[in-house]
Symmetry: C2
Subunit: 338 residues, 2 copies
DNA sequence: TTGTAGGCGTTATCAG
DNA sequence: CTGATAACGCCTACAA
């Protein structure tokens, strides 16, 4: 491969000049010279050696993605794929590399710092459900590495938090159901120690409050976000004396569980009951088109990557906080209460 | 960050010795010295600087993933995510970085070579449906970069091809249906200019032949692998005078289309007709558990990455050819023909 | 504007 | 076994 020297020689200039042009340093070089240098670069098919750049700039030209959960779970978890592709597409475009970091146990001896010390990565994006007391996150928050947490970490000092607007997820779903006449609305959600679980729940509650609807504890089922929990919770709801007229399953898997439970009980959507779920995967894969909250995970990844690059380049100061708006898509599983 | 010099000083040895220990070069160093060096490394929390290593070794310590299709399509395509996670988990474990390369048009001026020249990546994994006449692939095949194509490229000189056993996909599905008594089996598949489309079709055909069943052209629908095509093809099949008693939808999306078409026509699975599809996404997301071919995409990515690393390290010579076996999972959408 | 020279952290060579 | 020392390719003063 040609080096910067070859380019300099070919263009009849100094390596300095070439370097300036490549990194477009604001040094007044005559347009003519610049053009000559670019021509040489093109002819030689030159492009700078990343490792050498890294070494000289003391930058890794790499950003790391830290997964908080085992990969075997994650790979089945479509939202994470979407986030990953979002991050990846931005990095691909800027030519940065990706360093995937498998889950590190909180109690692991090797400090995270070491895996992520400067030279390894210029910044980190953390993916996975965030608990407020996670040591790994605390450690990152105390390091001087630019960090984006996909989620909400309330104690964050320097770490930036970006996530879909989980409060809005809960609020919008409940508010929509209320707007079409429902008064008894069940909520299925993930654990409250995860920020997404808590915020979706709070959003739901807020919508009830604002509409002066009573909050019925028995209509709320908080549990690990699995198909099974969604299934069981729904069965329980159906055994209540005054059944809810609508269910909001605030995670995709719980939604599937709910749908299955309703079907197994011979109930018909939306005639017997209304359902809103979270669309965490392409609807083209489903047999029905449910009314659902549509979380833009791909966009979430994209925006996180953009934000991280800005932090790295010093174009913004941490912490950055962002909530990505979500949308509701009206499908065939809800209908007005008559 | 500490450098190799710091370690050497602390351990009272030469940098050479430290370098030997780190890369465990087979040089007889006394166990005592080795231990002393490791101790110094641990105490200082030293780890080698990647960029410097790269530069010295003339290796990028990076592998590239080239996508053949636009990312916006890919991100919705769960198989690609699974492959990506498979590749990623292997790389994470070996500390290599990932360079994602967005689709490059065949006619783009910048040669692929340049984006992938040594120093940028040590090897490439190509993801996406492969056509035999794709210029980008021809170019890669002629370069001296280790290349793994996920798919089947018949003219390959140096490039290695790894894929799920697509012939077996077609064969096993058809064979199973035949084994439970079906004699008129429809086939829905992707374009024949893609290797996966062709091979699945050939497998299907072979199973018919081996069982002395007539091949009915009208039972075969080859089209772009979309929900819509699956839907329309199924409608057509149902209009035939002698309808097939079973359908094999050889792509996930066509399978969804088929299921929807059957439902819209008021047909019941498996009583009115049997169906085998391709399970390209977690079944937990579906409402029914179809009989399906289960392609191990995660594993495909993993194995591809492992193979690529071997090529890069010279532990194997190209071309490598591998077919990953697939399984059939019996679900609720097939039943014996009585 | 140019050329030179030192530095970035490792690897690898080669004489001790 | 060790210790210098020359690459590796680029960036960045600094002096001209």
């Amino acid at each position: 491969m040609p080096t910067i020297k070859d380019v300099a020689k070919k263009a009849g200039v100094s390596v300095t000049a070439v370097s300036f042009v490549i990194n477009n340093v604001p040094v007044p070089l005559s347009e003519k010279t610049k053009e000559r240098i670019w021509a040489a670069i093109r002819e030689l098919g030159y492009s700078p050696n990343r490792a050498a750049q890294s070494l000289a700039r003391r930058r890794a030209e790499t950003i790391a993605i830290l997964f908080l959960q085992p990969v075997s779970n994650i790979f089945a978890d479509i939202p994470y794929s979407q986030i990953l592709f979002g991050v990846g597409s931005k990095l691909a475009q800027s030519g940065l590399r990706l360093l995937l970091i498998p889950p590190i146990e909180s109690n692991e001896e090797t400090p995270l710092r070491r895996k992520l010390h400067k030279g390894e990565a210029d910044g980190v994006i953390v993916v996975g459900p965030i608990r407020q007391n996670d040591k790994r996150i605390k450690e990152l928050d105390n390091s001087d590495l630019p960090v984006i947490l996909i989620g909400n970490y309330k104690d964050a000092k320097k770490a930036s938090c970006i996530d879909i607007d989980n409060f809005a997820v809960g609020y919008k779903a409940a508010d929509y159901l209320i707007s079409i006449g429902h008064k008894s609305i069940a909520f299925l959600g993930g654990p409250l120690y995860y920020s997404y679980g808590q915020e979706r729940f709070l959003g739901y509650k807020k919508a009830l409050e604002e509409n002066n609807l009573p909050f019925d504890e028995e209509n709320v089922h908080i549990a690990p976000a699995t198909v099974e929990e969604g299934y069981n919770a729904t069965l329980k709801l159906l055994e209540k004396e005054n059944k809810p007229t609508a269910i909001f399953a605030s995670t995709g898997l719980m939604g599937v569980g709910a749908i299955r439970a309703l079907r197994d009980k011979g109930l018909h959507l939306p005639d017997d009951i209304s359902l809103i779920t979270l669309q965490e995967y392409p609807t083209s894969l489903m047999e029905i088109e449910p009314t659902a909250i549509v979380p833009p995970f791909y966009r979430l990844g994209l925006i996180s990557a953009i934000a991280l690059l800005k932090l790295i380049n010093g174009e913004r100061q941490p912490p950055i906080h962002k909530k990505i708006p979500i949308k509701i898509r009206i499908g065939s599983t809800t209908k007005p209460l008559t």
